[in-house]
């Protein structure tokens, strides 16, 4: 298939792997930010093609994984209301809350639906004015413009029965949080290509300068990742820092300006808890006052009781690159995709699930 096969070509990937081996003289730890990248690395066995000196740790870029338990409980409580049609992207549906996941709410009679686009939720709200249509707005900067677009449409249509439960998170503050930790092992970042397609790369310049670290904006196909890894390692070996773009077929330094304008209209940064990590300042999106009336968290006064996270789960350390999934005592034993203890085992993008499903026991 054109524009895919070229990036999954065995010969090309192997050549880059060979050049990496020729390049590396010192031990380096790199972090890929995005769960989609983790998935590709493990799925194609790319990490095993790298020299032993190079260690990959997996970042917090799985939106499902970092959504706080309390918010999932709130989603479940809203979805259980008989007047509500609750819509969400697919992989959020199976994430366990303290008591239930959204698929179980559906099985018990709740109107829970999977959609590909938040605009489908707006369409439904328009068609069924008697139903309260709630969209679970999960994701990084990548999916946020679609939510913003949906909210602007809902505003234009004057929909009183549409709302969103906002759980958007932002990448740069999370990178800062990881880098500022004294335990941080990461010497270079593969930044998330699709996030930068929207946001551009300018907000990464101060991070690269402050922590004197190379940040390479990388794509998601095997060849993208191998080239991104080589660019990061080359910078480290040569003692350079700064932002570079591997994924130039999609990313420009300025990003998608119309999308950024949409975001600025609808969202404002706010402090936000990340599951397993804690509150990171200015790392999430809240609705601006103009759109507050579409906030499902305010519209539905639901009571939730959130359980404590299982003590044995080390999801927080894994999401910060301080540990790998197989360092966890519960991995593959008490914790499996059938019965996950922590979110990285639930989402297909989660590092634990990637290790488990592709046989890294």
């Amino acid at each position: 298939m054109k524009f895919v096969d070229e990036y999954r070509n065995e010969e090309s990937v192997r050549k880059v792997a060979d050049s990496i081996r020729a390049l590396v003289t010192l031990p380096w730890t790199l972090m890929e930010i995005c769960g989609g990248q983790t998935h590709t690395l493990i799925k194609y066995g790319l990490d095993r093609m790298l020299p032993d000196l190079v260690t990959l740790v997996h970042g917090p870029g799985c939106p499902v994984c970092v959504t706080p338990l309390e918010l999932i409980d709130r989603a479940v409580a809203i979805a259980r209301r008989p007047d509500v049609t609750f819509m969400s992207f697919g992989d959020m549906l199976r994430v366990p809350g303290s008591e239930l996941d959204l698929l179980s709410v559906k099985a018990r009679g709740g109107d829970v639906r999977m959609v590909y686009s938040p605009l489908d939720a707006v369409k439904l709200a328009e068609k069924e004015p008697a139903r309260q249509v709630v969209f679970f707005a999960v994701g990084f900067e990548t999916t946020a413009p679609a939510i913003a677009g949906a909210l602007l449409t809902a505003e234009r249509l004057g929909l009183a029965n549409f709302s969103v439960l906002v759980s958007h998170v932002l990448v740069p503050p999370a990178m800062e949080a990881i880098l500022s930790s004294p335990a941080c092992l990461v010497k270079g970042f593969l930044a998330a290509g699709h996030v930068c397609t929207v946001m551009g790369t300018h907000e990464y310049d101060p991070i690269a300068a402050k922590y004197r670290i190379p940040i390479v904006v990388t794509g998601f196909e095997p060849l993208d990742l191998m080239v991104g890894i080589r660019m990061t390692l080359a910078a480290l070996e040569e003692g350079r820092h700064g932002v570079e773009i591997q994924y130039s077929r999609c990313v420009s330094p300025g990003g998608n300006v119309p999308a950024q304008k949409l975001l600025a209209e609808v969202f404002a940064p706010c402090d936000r808890p990340w599951r397993g990590i804690g509150v990171i300042p200015k790392s999430g999106y809240a609705l601006t006052p103009r759109f507050e009336r579409f906030d499902a968290a305010k519209r539905f006064d639901v009571e939730t009781v959130t359980a404590e996270e299982p003590k044995v789960c080390i999801a927080g350390s894994i999401l910060q690159g301080l540990a790998k999934p197989r360092d966890c005592a519960a991995f593959g034993k008490e914790c499996t995709p059938e019965k996950p203890l922590g979110a990285p085992m639930v989402s297909t993008e989660g590092a634990c699930a990637a290790y488990y499903s592709y046989g890294r026991e």
Binding site: V13, G36, G45, R48, M92, L103, Y116, E338, Y358
Partner: protein, 355 residues
């Protein structure tokens, strides 16, 4: 039914007067006049055969001594019409194929329908005609049936159960436990078509070309394969729900052997791959309705491949892997870029990713 009569029937419009009964009523399942009219004019006329025309509570079939294969499957699919097929043909093909995968020659089928009150009569007619066509095409009669009607909102338009029996010839021994190290694994054509056709329709996704279901009867292909290879065919399976990955896992576990497949060797149509990329799905886990996996003795693999390719539904057949003594119970895939990974069972359905 003679082909001639079949054509005449096709040309006819719905035999139940649509003006009187444009939709299914509860009474169509009540056993009275309405039921009778439906059975006689629609089902008996369409499925027409000697056993059915007895109009008894069941069919009586004459069978030679030997082993009988027996299989049942219920079909629920929304929407019930989709590109390249519908729930009726799907149900007939599905059960015909399940029998064929037992190494059996399908002998006869039953058709049990659960209709939802309000189902358009024209839709039922299209589905019935499609079942009749599929049965004729596969050369297997529908010899008995049943119809029930449930209240509006209690069903999804129509549910279809097709049960069937078939005869297993002497010397044929098909079982997942017969997979053994050295066996070569073939697939009869491009995978993931049915699942993608349904999902693209549900999600309203449009591609350059419409992806159609691959729903097809495989009994002819299996008969040719067994006639030529006999006991050298070890395992046959149609990778329906859960796709190729799930079926290979089941076989590897049942046989206590390993399975290795090569990603590059597995045929996937260009538009299906594209759709899977967009939807965030792995074609290995997507449903097929007209494909089979065959495990055959290594020395007969080339012969098996030409037999599959000579069949009308097997033009794109390919050798995709082998059974190994290593990694028992596990399926290992050699990826396009040269890495190797485990292909595990999914927990539930594949759920598309957020980004």
């Amino acid at each position: 039914m003679s082909d001639d009569l079949g054509e005449k029937l096709q040309a006819l419009s719905c035999p139940v007067p649509v003006a009187d009964y444009p939709n299914i009523l509860l009474g169509h399942g009540g056993g009275g006049r309405l039921s009778q009219m439906l059975v006689e004019r629609m089902f008996a006329a369409s499925f027409d055969n000697a056993a059915l025309s007895e109009m008894h509570d069941g069919a009586v079939l004459a069978v030679p001594a030997g082993r009988l294969a027996f299989s049942t499957d219920s079909y629920v699919v929304r929407p019930y019409f989709f590109p390249g097929g519908d729930i009726g043909s799907l149900a007939v093909h599905g059960t015909v194929n399940d029998l064929a995968m037992c190494g059996a020659r399908p002998l006869a089928l039953s058709s049990a329908l659960i209709l939802e009150e309000g189902l358009p009569m024209e839709d039922l007619w299209r589905i019935t005609r499609s079942m009749a066509d599929a049965a004729r095409n596969a050369g297997v009669p529908i010899v008995t049936g049943d119809t029930k009607v449930v209240g509006r909102g209690k069903g999804d338009g129509i549910f279809v159960n097709v049960t069937g029996v078939g005869l297993v010839a002497e010397g044929v021994e098909i079982s997942p436990r017969r997979a053994k190290p050295g066996d070569v694994i073939l697939v009869s054509g491009a995978i993931a078509q049915h699942g993608v056709a349904i999902m693209a329709l549900r999600e309203g996704l449009e591609f350059g070309t419409t992806v159609t279901t691959d729903s097809a009867p495989l009994n002819g292909m299996v008969a040719s394969l067994l006639a030529a290879l006999g006991a050298d065919v070890h395992v046959l399976r149609d990778p329906t729900r859960g796709g190729v990955a799930s079926v290979l896992n089941e076989i590897a576990k049942a046989a206590g052997t390993g399975v290795t497949i090569s990603e590059a060797a597995i045929p996937v149509a260009e538009e299906v791959r594209g759709a899977c990329e967009i939807l965030g799905l792995d074609p290995l886990y997507v449903a097929n309705e007209g494909k089979l996996l065959a495990f055959v003795a290594r020395e007969r693999a080339d012969e098996a491949l030409s037999i599959l390719r000579a069949d009308r539904f097997g033009a794109e057949a390919a050798i995709v892997g082998e059974v190994t003594a290593e990694h028992p119970g596990k399926v290992v895939l050699k990826s396009r870029v040269g890495g190797r990974r485990i292909v595990d069972l999914l927990t539930g359905d594949q759920l598309p990713r957020i980004c």
